[in-house]
Symmetry: C2
Amino acid sequence: MNFVTVVTKNGSPEFVPPAARIAVFDNDGTLWAEQPFYFQGLFVFDRIRSLAPQHPEWKVDQPFKAVLENDLKTVAAAGMQGLIELVLATHANMTTEEFESVVKDWLATARHPKFNKSYTDLVFQPMLELLAYLRANDFKTFIVSGGGIEFVRVFSQTVYGIPPEQVIGSSISTRFEVQNGKPILVREPKVDFVDDQEGKPVGINKFLGRRPIAAFGNSDGDFQMLEWTSASNPFFALIIHHDDDLREFAYDRASAAGRLDRCLDEAPKRGWLVASMKKDWNRVFSFQ
Amino acid sequence: MNFVTVVTKNGSPEFVPPAARIAVFDNDGTLWAEQPFYFQGLFVFDRIRSLAPQHPEWKVDQPFKAVLENDLKTVAAAGMQGLIELVLATHANMTTEEFESVVKDWLATARHPKFNKSYTDLVFQPMLELLAYLRANDFKTFIVSGGGIEFVRVFSQTVYGIPPEQVIGSSISTRFEVQNGKPILVREPKVDFVDDQEGKPVGINKFLGRRPIAAFGNSDGDFQMLEWTSASNPFFALIIHHDDDLREFAYDRASAAGRLDRCLDEAPKRGWLVASMKKDWNRVFSFQ
């Protein structure tokens, strides 16, 4: 609130005009939960199971076989390359409209294993309040996610009040085609952009074209975004620390999803704040 | 104005809520002039001349030699591949901040050969009025340019009132680096995205994530953008026809820059309007 007061007060030496009040938010682990695994990953696993009858080869081929056998250790061992294979098999070879409807259906029906809630119920109440507070002070709020841009856009407006054009994320290529006189975009099995780590400032520059003055993250995948934002003067940077195993999950330095290590080490010397979910948040989810 | 009335009137069967009132504008030839050649091309030629002393090889190598000798016919004959070579030689191997300052300097000093005005004076007065009119009716206005995204962003806010995050365009890759503790983005000599023809709906989907309801163009490079927009219901699509050699330039089917051919043929059957600069525009430039 100090920061917001200083940058919004006319005549303050650190006044920032409304148009330049850009705040960027990581999504997984920052705006909504990301355990036991990134929710988009859980979507991928569900899709693999749904599509398995049409793909008998998945009973043999890894990492598909491991997904079908619920063997998440083998899935994890397949690393980034394995994850990309799973994503491309479930996210491509359909139109953008078809993909949107598949994601919508999943979000409407899937339930989180620990909380038995919709995934879109697992957004952090203090972050919703923060988004509203910043917007009330003429900030423009953007999501900068390592997750898929077209996945996040399906719910960004209804859940966060963030329109699709203010979502930046990882993407696969699309191809324009006219089929029976109807223009469509076909999602191709090819990675276009990875919006993580160094990709985050690259994506911010590509999509947004200016430097944010505030950034919010929760993992080392956000390090470069916070570093890029911190070259603003003034700037604000916050890290969400997941240290509340009772109300959510507790994880940081050794986690597979949302690993927080370098950020924790360097936060003090860089002037980044660390919010403890356990100590600083009255509520984690709206239903609690 | 009929279209705007219909989509903004509460209770109208074709009412569109403000958030979905997206209008996309081509830049070269639609918002500002593009003759005798795309202005960014003229910027490239000026940069080649400025940088020539550090590149003695350009006295021999094509298409650089042709630029230095003002032999635009040979430059044109080098085609897209030649143009890309020239762009990469002048747009890369510097930081994003350095590029912005080079473009700013050029815009502040360069003069158009026919009008002896700044290039940013060569924006179309009726289009400025149209942008303002749409925004007054809660439309969000975007540029979707075949030109370089970081080139257009330098002047989009001051000239058109369009903030950088509402500019979509062609791009080269950038690389994140930390130099002496300072995070920078280095522009690499590598094409990232070509926002022209089929690239325009791809770019609109990538950056904007939803379909516009109104589109404005002036060349066949805009065909697919208009086609994509026309699948909205309702939609509005307009083509600017450059048929005023006295106040601006007259060109269409046979032009090197801004060729308008298929759009003219198909406009009537697709319900696209064609605006004649000569007959429909009281003023072309604000200084006239």
